[in-house]
Amino acid sequence: MSTINTQSTTSNTSQTSSGDQSIIHSAGEVFIESPRGLSARNVSCWFGEKKVLEGVNLVMRPLEVTALIGPSGCGKSTFLRTLNRMHELVPGASLAGEIQLNGDDIYRGAMPLTEVRRHIGMVFQKPNPFPAMTIAENVLSGLRLSGLKVDRHERDDILETSLKRAGLWKEVKDRLGEPGRALSGGQQQRLCIARSLAVKPQVLLMDEPCSALDPSSTRRIEETVQELSDTITIVIVTHNMQQAQRVSKFCAFFLAEENQPGRIVEADLTAKIFTTPRDERTNAYVSGHFG
């Protein structure tokens, strides 16, 4: 019942969605959309002349957590950054293939770049709250940056909901006016998650969000990720295989063999990847033989 395609998926990805999940009510009509969530077709990436990623096909199911694992330099972070068009910020970067959000191509479609990034939020490796802003201003900064106009009442509402969803509300509700930098590293990362949630994205991309944090902060972030997956699609890059097992339902294993661009070796249910992988290389990686 693999729901993630890896082998040269062509146009026919609709079979992967099952039952009612593929049916959306829109403007009074019922139609089948394929695929929902975020999907990548035949994505390749270059930095200048160097090809770092080749032929990646992956469907990231809505309201589930998909983990991207693999050794350093396998292209998993690069792939993540193609999903909200951050890849193109690097001078000389280019890509081929197609990325769709609910069936709309985010590169060639009608959706403006800033809209793409608002719908597909991102949390970075290092917590990066805006230092000149208070905790509250940090959370609401996305509204300002993306030009969303909201009234005062709604702002307070967004502030509270976002912090609650990020699991930070209790700790900061009495100090919303303090600078964001006054928080601990783990709290800063949850502040960044709250900031991303405030613009109501459909997808949240997380690029090794715990690699700069201590174990107990890591645990808090993982709990947050699990709670969030009820309401938002999450794609998380992680070096930590226990983390991938704890938080994700699906998992894609990336590998770049010597002098080769990165590819997906195997993608499946996380439970299967870690117990009965199909590929020998996946087995070697998840059992800690390299990487």
Binding site: F130, G142, S146
Partner: protein, 334 residues
């Protein structure tokens, strides 16, 4: 039984180690040279200040505090003298220069660091820096013969239409004659601003270029535009650089001599209007009067020089504190 912390401490007396560093010969030589060079700079400053104070002392004794308020200059004939008008003119010229230079410098620095394609960044930077290499005499000549005839029409328009604002007032009823607006504080300020722009730009450019990538990406990932990134990340980060760059520019503008000397027609009575003919600056005063002064006059000029020296020292000191302090949290590592 395991001894507790307190017990061990009470039993074993602690003796702190004397930290001794033994330096070898090359290290000691290098230290000596570097220290000497460092102190030379300080000694130079002290020497210059001391020299001005020593040479200006007789004039300062004679004039006392009225040196700062007297609006005339007749030390050679034994008359009154002071920088009561010259000092305000100096500051006015510098402020006009900053008013023009700071916005242009911010925009230029933002363009170079944020908008310009990578491959033209370096040539553009060199080009702006090259502006700083043009001798100020050239700026002065160009300002006098090319810029002034064009600028006085601006002055006249301001005098005719905005004359009710004291800053732009022109004496007599409108319409005014065009010649009334030549050799003014405004014209001198504009020319000085051209010399200040490269300095301000290079300070601001360096600070803007250091705006943390992580925060810029965060702003973009929230759906921000380039302008949003500049407003919420680059400018708040660069605030110290903007203020510091402006202050360094002010220091430069205060001391500018030859261009101002060429343009202004020296005046020793204060007027608030920057458009009206007549202005002055300490540096221009010294340059103009130096060759025709007797011993009394020279001493008075030295005193004026001391005032300028202290003022620029103060401005530059404040600037370097602001530039150096940077932003709290800029270097935070988690």
């Amino acid at each position: 039984m395991i001894p507790t912390q307190e017990q061990t401490e009470s039993v074993v007396p602690e003796e702190r180690i004397e930290i001794a560093v033994r330096r070898d010969v090359p290290d000691r030589i290098y230290r000596g040279v570097a220290t000497a060079a460092g102190f030379t700079t300080l000694a130079l400053m002290a020497l210059i200040g001391g020299f001005l104070l020593f040479r200006g002392a007789s004039a300062l004794r004679k004039a006392g505090f009225s040196f700062l308020t007297t609006e005339m200059w007749a030390p050679d004939q034994g008359g009154d003298f002071g920088i009561g008008a010259v000092l305000p003119y100096t500051i006015q010229i510098s402020l006009v220069a900053l008013f023009i230079a700071v916005p242009i410098s911010i925009a230029t620095a933002l363009f170079i660091t944020q908008y310009a394609p990578t491959r033209i960044r370096r040539p553009l930077t060199s080009l702006v820096d090259l502006l700083a290499a043009i001798p100020s005499l050239i700026y002065g000549l160009w300002g006098l013969f090319y810029l002034q005839p064009r600028l006085i029409t601006v002055g006249k328009w301001m005098g005719d239409n905005l004359g009710w604002i004291p800053l732009f007032k022109a004496s007599g009823p409108a319409p005014h004659s065009i010649g009334q607006f030549a050799a003014s504080t405004f014209v001198a300020g504009v020319v000085v601003s051209l010399m200040v722009i490269p300095l301000c730009t290079s300070v601001m450019r360096e600070v803007f270029a250091q705006a943390p990538m992580g925060e810029q990406e965060a702003a973009l990932a929230l759906g921000g535009t380039k302008w949003g990134v500049i407003r919420d990340v680059v400018l708040p980060f660069g605030r110290g650089g903007i203020i510091g760059g402006a202050m360094l520019g002010l220091g430069r503008a205060l001391g500018e001599t030859i261009a101002v000397t060429l343009i202004i027609s020296p005046m020793f009575v204060r007027q608030f209007s920057i458009m009206e003919q007549g202005s002055n600056s300490i540096a221009a005063l010294i340059a103009l009067k130096f060759s025709e002064s007797n011993a009394n006059g020279i001493s008075a000029l030295m005193a004026a020089g001391l005032a300028l020296f202290l003022l620029t020292l103060l401005v530059n000191a404040i600037a370097s504190v602001i530039v150096g302090k940077g932003r709290s949290g800029a270097q935070t590592e988690i």
